[in-house]
Amino acid sequence: MSAVLSAFFASPTVQTALAVGTVVAVVSSVVGVFTITRGQSFAGHALADLGAVGGSGAFLLGVSQLWGFVLAGVISAVAMEAIGTRRLEGRDVATGIVFGAGMGLTALFLTLDTLIGGSSNAAISVLFGSLFSLDSALVPVIVALGVVTLAIMTAIWRWVALETLDRDLAAARGVPPRTASTLFLVALALAVQLSSLSIGAILSTALLIGPAATALLFTRRLSTAAALAAVIAVVEVWLGCLVAFASFDWFGGSSWPVSFTIVAAVFLGYVGARTVTALRPFGHRMAVG
C-alpha cells in the first residue's frame, strides 16, 4: 500500500490533478451550498453543460475556447434570471428552455465545426473530461478563475444569504434582490465553467451538489455548511484520485476513469450521510439537503 501511495504522490499527473481538484472542489462546494438552499441545482447542472455551446462556438470563430466557455456561461446565467419567475416550478421550466436552446445551438455549432474542418475537442471532452488528462498550461487560469469566483461569493455573501432566506426581508433591508440573484448566478456560472472545463460536466455537477448536500444534512448554518462541504469535497476528490490510480494494478493495466471513482465517492458519501441521519433518533430529520 505504501508503495502505491509513494508512487501516487510522486507522479506529476497526480500532483496537477490534486492541485486543480482541490481548487475546484473548494470553489464548487462553497457555491453549491447556496445553489441547494436556493433550489437551483438544475441551473447549476445546465450551466455546466452549456459551456459546450461557448466552446464549440469559439472554435467556429477561431477564438480561445476558454473564453467561449466563460462567456457562454455568464450569458446563459443572465438569460435564466431574466425569464425566470419566482415560482419554483416556473423557474424549472425557464431553466429547461434556456438549456434546451443552448444544447440545440451546440449541435448546430458542432456540425458547422466539422464542415470547416476539424472538430472542437473541448465540446466533446466537456462531457467526459478527465482530471488525469489536464493541460498543465490551464492550471494558472483555473486557479485565477477560482479566486475570482470565491471573491465574488465573499463580496455578495451577506446579500445572497439574506435573499436566500427571505426575499421580502432582504428587499426591506435594502438588498436589491434582482442584482443579488443575478450576481449569484454569475458566480455559479463561473464556478461550473471552471470545473466543467477542467474536469468535465459530470464531475462539475457532482462536486457542486454532492458535498454541499451531504454537509447540509448535518448543519443548517450556511457558513458552517460551506466549510464542512469544502472539507468533504476535498476528501472525496483525493480518495477518488487514489482509487483511480490504484485500480491500474487491480485490472491488469487499465484503470477506472477518475470521473467515475470521484462520482462514486460523492454518491456513496451522500447516501451514507442520509443513512446516518435517518438512523439518528432525534435531530435534523428534515434538513434542507
Binding site: I36, G39, Q40, S41, F42, G44, H45, A46, I83, L88, E89, G90, D92, V93, T95, G96, I97, V98, F99, G100, A101, M103, G104, L105, A107, L108, L110, T111, L127, F128, I202, L203, T205, A206, L208, I209, G210, A213, S254, W256, P257, S259, F260, V263, A264, V266, F267, Y270, R274, A278, R285, M286, V288, G289
Partner: protein, 270 residues
C-alpha cells in the same frame, strides 16, 4: 422530402411527438423539467453497458431509464427533489463513462444516443416504438385523474386518499417508457426539448387540462414536422431546429399570455 427512405423518419417523428406532447404536459405541470432531462440523459449509460455485455442497447436503455426514474422518486421522498435528481444523474453518467472506458470500442453508437439519428430507424424498430408509445399513453390514461390532482396539489390528493408516492412512481415509469421510445431516434437532447418547450407554450395559452393537452400535442407535432422538413432541406441537425422552435414558441406564448392578461385587466375596469 417525401422520398421512401424518409418515410420512417416522418412516421417515427409523429410517434415521438404524440408521446412527448402528452407526457410533456404533465412534466411542465409538475415542474419536473430536471427529472425529464436526467432520465433520458442518464439512461444512455444503460445502452453503453448493454453494448459491453452484448445485449440489445434498447434493453439497457429501458432498464437504466426505469431504474434511475424510480430511484429518484424513492430517494426524493425525504430530501430535495432536485438534489437527488442531480446526484442520480451524475452517478448514471459516471457509470456510462466507466462502461465506455471498459469496452474500448468506437463509441459512435453511444454518442448517437445523445444527439439522435433520425434517419437510422428501421421499419421493425418503428413497430417496437409504436407499441411502447401506445403502452406509455395507456398508462397515462389509466392514472390521468389522480395524476392531475397529485400534480396540482399533492396535499389535496393525499387528503382525498390518493397514494401520491404511488402516482409519482407510475409517472416515473411513464417517463422511462417515453425515453425508451424516443431516445434511439431523436436523442436525449431533442427528447428533453420536446418534453418541455411546446408543452410549456401550450400551458401558457390554455386554461383547462383538456385544451392544454390537445394544444401541447398539436404544437409538438408542428415542431417535429417543421424540424424534419428544415433539417432535410438544409442538412443541419434536427436538434437545433426543434430546440429553437420550442424556445420561440415558449417566448411567443409568454408574450401572448401577458398581452391577454393586460387586456382582460383593462376590460374589467369600469
Amino acid at each position: 422530402m417525401f422520398a421512401p427512405y424518409l418515410m420512417t423518419a416522418w412516421a417515427g417523428g409523429t410517434i415521438v411527438a404524440v408521446v412527448a406532447g402528452i407526457v410533456g404536459f404533465f412534466v411542465v405541470l409538475r415542474g419536473n423539467a430536471f427529472f425529464a432531462h436526467a432520465v433520458p440523459h442518464g439512461a444512455f449509460a444503460g445502452a453503453a453497458g448493454a453494448v459491453l455485455v452484448g445485449v440489445n442497447p434498447l434493453v439497457g436503455l429501458g432498464v437504466f431509464a426505469a431504474g434511475g426514474a424510480v430511484g429518484i422518486v424513492l430517494l426524493g421522498r425525504r430530501a430535495r427533489h432536485d438534489v437527488v435528481t442531480a446526484l442520480t444523474l451524475v452517478t448514471m453518467l459516471a457509470l456510462g463513462a466507466l462502461f465506455l472506458s471498459r469496452s474500448r470500442e468506437y463509441s459512435a453508437q453511444v454518442f448517437a444516443l445523445l444527439f439522435g439519428q433520425i434517419l437510422g430507424v428501421s421499419p421493425d424498430q418503428l413497430a417496437t416504438m409504436g407499441l411502447l408509445g401506445v403502452c406509455c399513453l395507456a398508462l397515462v390514461a389509466l392514472i390521468a385523474r389522480p395524476l392531475l390532482l397529485a400534480s396540482v396539489s399533492p396535499a389535496l390528493a393525499a387528503a382525498r386518499g390518493i397514494r401520491v408516492t404511488g402516482v409519482d412512481l407510475v409517472f416515473a415509469l411513464v417517463i422511462a417508457a417515453a425515453t425508451t421510445v424516443s431516445v434511439p431516434m431523436v436523442g436525449a437532447l431533442l427528447m428533453f426539448a420536446l418534453l418541455v418547450g411546446p408543452p410549456a407554450a401550450a400551458q401558457a395559452l390554455t386554461r383547462t387540462p383538456g385544451q392544454g393537452m390537445a394544444l401541447s400535442v398539436a404544437l409538438t407535432l408542428g415542431t417535429v414536422w417543421t424540424s424534419i422538413a428544415l433539417s432535410v432541406g438544409t442538412d443541419l441537425p434536427i436538434g437545433f431546429f426543434a430546440t429553437a422552435i420550442g424556445a420561440l414558441l415558449y417566448a411567443g406564448a409568454r408574450l401572448a399570455a401577458r398581452r391577454r392578461r393586460r387586456r382582460e385587466g383593462r376590460s374589467r375596469m369600469p
